[in-house]
Symmetry: C2
Subunit: 553 residues, 2 copies
């Protein structure tokens, strides 16, 4: 097996041996059973060795050619490598891998170290009609890195060895960075020069710059720093038909945006090998705040007004009452301390209810005086809520990368658990929020005895925001995939019906592709598909994703 720098779970989220520590497990699981019905332990294959996968279809001669091209150690047909490169981190992916089912795996995994190797590989793949799947951190939750169903060999291109920060321009506040760098390594190097990119998606620890750019990722601080497409000022894409470099300028007026034609291309136009990103100075100061609103709607109203009054907290996160209650459940100790009890008493006496209110977390960061006045201004707009001090937001930021680990515990107990997101203009937001919740509940309850559905608003804009939903139910034994697909379809159709974004930051991959043409319009979809026809006329790049409007095979 080709070593990664640290051991990651192949059957779940994050690092081996790590998990989310629930402070009051008994309370948590009994709450879940109250709502979902009795939960059963599920089993999973205990070792990678127990997983059977189709043999590599690569001819020996081709393997030799690849070894010539990349060097012996950067080409692998080892089963372990092939398995861990065969899927991402969606619920569906984990469901399959825990069962030991790997229907399709890359026939070979290569680790390029130089752009020229990628160009040569694409030329070779074009001649051989291989599929090429670019792979960053492999955290896609939309089937973005899976191997296409095809009779031809598929090469997965793991970019994590092209991981250098090539240049930091301290004058322009930009950096030239190779696409395979992972979040923590990138931030560490930028921080050492006094900078941050300001991009912290939930997958931050395990995903790459190239993956962020390819999927139009949004970080948890996007309300201030923007989505990745606002952070990149130029990029390089190696396509089967040539190398594209968008102009390295802060802005221009030279026709349609070449840069924005390449961002979001999900590996289907070519391989993003490097990007020039805008940097920010490490924040001089931070201000944390939390508010409890009596309901979601009054919280939405407050954050809308903040955003429309030029306030741009780095983090803005408004949980609905169900998510607020869940957060409380997870944070609560089995025996609340006197301090905790006093806090709850204070909240009740103030006329609010922690179990039915909507929690807003705000984190402002930047130059000290701007942060200070912004926090004060925000406070005025949050008047309808009860100020809870800075602790909830401080705790959240400490734990923010721990949350996804809990999914593994839920899967261990046969819980169907997934998340999905959209974005909408303020005018449509309440309707979409209600419609998606309803679609999730209704479609879950069609086959399950109980459902938990909760959500939050984050990633705010002056004209709208994203909505992020989580749903849980007991798995329907033997029908797990069909059960999930029904729920996913119901939610997505509700989003599209009410004018929401097909995805705000997870991307299309193979999971959303059947809706892309509806979402963009037939004419719009076919215009974007033309980019594909031009750069990848043989459809060797990540086939079966994004530009492929056929139902998932």
């Amino acid at each position: 097996m080709v070593n990664n720098t640290e051991k990651l779970k192949w059957w779940g989220w994050g690092r081996e041996g790590e998990s989310y520590s629930i402070r009051n497990p008994q309370g948590f699981w009994s709450f879940l059973e109250q709502n979902l019905g009795p939960l059963q332990q599920s089993t999973r294959v205990s070792s990678l060795n127990d997983i059977s996968l189709p043999p590599s279809r690569l001819a020996l001669k081709d393997l030799e050619d690849l070894r010539q091209l990349f060097g012996e150690k950067d080409v692998t047909i080892d089963d372990t490598d092939r398995i861990i490169h065969s899927f991402g981190k969606s619920y569906v992916d984990l469901l399959r891998i825990r069962r030991g089912t790997v229907e399709r795996a890359p026939d070979v995994v290569v680790f390029p170290q130089r752009q020229e190797q990628i160009q040569d590989l694409l030329a070779l793949a074009s001649r051989k009609s291989w599929a090429v799947v670019p792979f960053g951190g492999g955290t896609s939750v939309v089937g973005g890195v899976e191997v296409p169903e095809d009779s031809k060999p598929s090469v997965t291109l793991d970019l994590r060895r092209m991981n250098r920060v090539l240049q930091i321009d301290r004058n322009s506040y930009t950096a030239v960075v190779q696409s395979g760098v992972m979040g923590p390594a990138l931030e560490k190097e930028l921080n050492a020069s006094g900078f941050t990119l300001g991009h912290f998606p939930q997958s931050f620890e395990f995903s790459t710059l190239g993956g962020w750019v390819a999927t139009r990722s949004a970080g948890q601080n996007s309300t201030k720093y923007g989505k990745i497409e606002n952070m990149v000022t130029s990029l390089r894409l190696v396509s089967p038909t040539g190398v594209l470099d968008s102009p390295m300028v802060p802005a221009d007026a030279a026709g349609p945006s070449l840069l924005q034609c390449l961002i979001g291309s999900e590996g289907a136009l070519g391989v993003i090998t490097q990007a020039v990103v805008r940097l920010h100075p490490l924040p001089q100061s931070r201000a944390f705040g939390a508010y409890l609103f009596s309901d979601f709607a009054s919280g939405v109203d407050a954050v809308k007004k903040m955003l429309q009054a030029d306030l741009r907290p780095a983090v803005l996160r408004l949980s609905d009452p169900e998510e607020t209650a869940m957060a409380l459940l997870l944070a609560q100790s089995p025996r609340p301390s006197i301090k905790e009890r006093l806090g709850h008493l204070y909240i009740r006496l103030s006329g609010f209810d922690l179990h039915s209110g909507a929690l807003l977390l705000l984190i402002f960061e930047g130059p000290e005086r701007l942060v200070s006045v912004a926090k004060k201004e925000a406070h005025r707009y949050a008047r309808a809520g009860l100020y809870l001090g800075s602790l909830p937001a401080r705790n959240w930021i400490k734990e923010r990368f721990r949350h996804p680990y809990i999914r593994d515990d839920l899967l261990d107990r046969s819980v169907m658990v997934d998340t999905l997101e959209t974005a909408a203009h303020w005018q449509k937001l309440p309707e979409i929020y209600a419609a998606v919740r309803q679609a999730l509940s209704d479609s879950i309850l069609a086959t399950a005895s109980g459902a938990l559905v909760f959500g939050h608003l984050s990633h705010g804009y002056s004209d709208g925001a994203s909505l992020y939903f989580t749903f849980m139910a007991k798995q329907q034994p033997g029908q797990e995939l069909a059960q999930w697909q029904t729920v996913k379809t119901a939610a997505t159709e509700a989003i599209l019906k009410h004018g929401g974004a097909l995805s705000h930051h997870h991307g299309i991959g193979s999971m959303h592709k059947i809706w892309t043409s509806t979402y963009l319009g037939k004419e719009g979809f076919s215009l974007l598909a033309e980019l594909k026809n031009k750069l990848d006329p043989q459809n060797i790049m990540n086939p079966g994703k994004l530009f492929d409007a056929s139902p998932e095979s």
Copy 2:
């Protein structure tokens, strides 16, 4: 003639009867003659009736068809209408029209009132292989609306009757607006609802929303509000092959940006018929400031630091010493008042020189407290400069739409006068500034006895800014076009050599098209050209611009 709402100069800028009032004409003209040599009055044709133009090539039957489609009064082959739709407002355009030379004019001008008429026209034009030139305010300075050289008839589509604000969403802070609305009418309607778009290009009074979107326009307040591509959240484009609507969402992750494929399309992909734009509340407060720096470089350093410390003045404009001196010359009364003299004395005693310093104008706007703290913070970064109070910025904003009128006076005196712009990362900015100045001076002085070259920095970003240059010289009689082309070419080559944007906000049109492939790279250019092949396979839409890499015919 088809009436416009107000009488505009066909031979120059803006409204008939209006001009820039120079407070000390004698001082101004003698300064120019000192620098450029003796100036001569130039003549221009005095009436539109003196202009001869090729007859309309439209067949009577086709004219009948168009009248059927648009109604009698919205189709014109009147010479006056054809002349005023035959060019934009570049130096080259004005040079030609003042001579009475109209080599090519639209064969017919139509004024659609509904989208369906545009669809029908494009279908008809496709059948007949006509060229279709979309026309907004006609203020292009890059040959964006001129009639292509071709043996086939050309139809100019004047969109100014599709000028309604269809909807203002007071909740989402967005508006759905037809593309033919002009700046003042749009702002008036938005202002009445308490909003502004925040887009004030130099051409504001005479240009349209559609024109701004088609050319990636930047307004004078772009440092706060962004360029037009940041203001538009969705748009509709009617192309020869169909109608495209980009999704109406604040942000998404659904592949390459369809929206950003259509913005900047300069009429060459189709007709932009409407856009959804983001609105801002009318600013609660404004703060004005002006500083004098001892040189351009120290001013650049100050504004860079402001922008990199999260400060976003609406207006940020740093003139180089030559432009500062010119501004002073234009503002000065023949006999300075005691107050003016005292002001100058104060500046000299502070160790600065108004005639060799660099003037920075700042205007902050927005919520009162944010504006107040931002102005104070900016003051700290501008320490190297001398604070001049608020008056210079207040005066500038009062006069900002008057400045272009002065070009007509210069043309009346046989002065070659033009402007050009670029944008660059901070690291490259000083070099580009020097190289473009040098290229302008050298190329001018190759044939003229004197040159005036000045510039300013505006449109600031954290990673760079735009540079805007003005140049003046005596016209070379009989060689006016060749003289200008030499200078333009020298400046553009200097920009490209040093990594600047081919254009920051004027666009490509026919003027910059020969450099587009160099700027975007062959692969990049051909990818964008594929958008054209897809939407307009017969090349009927604004041919000879943007996507046409052949030298200007």
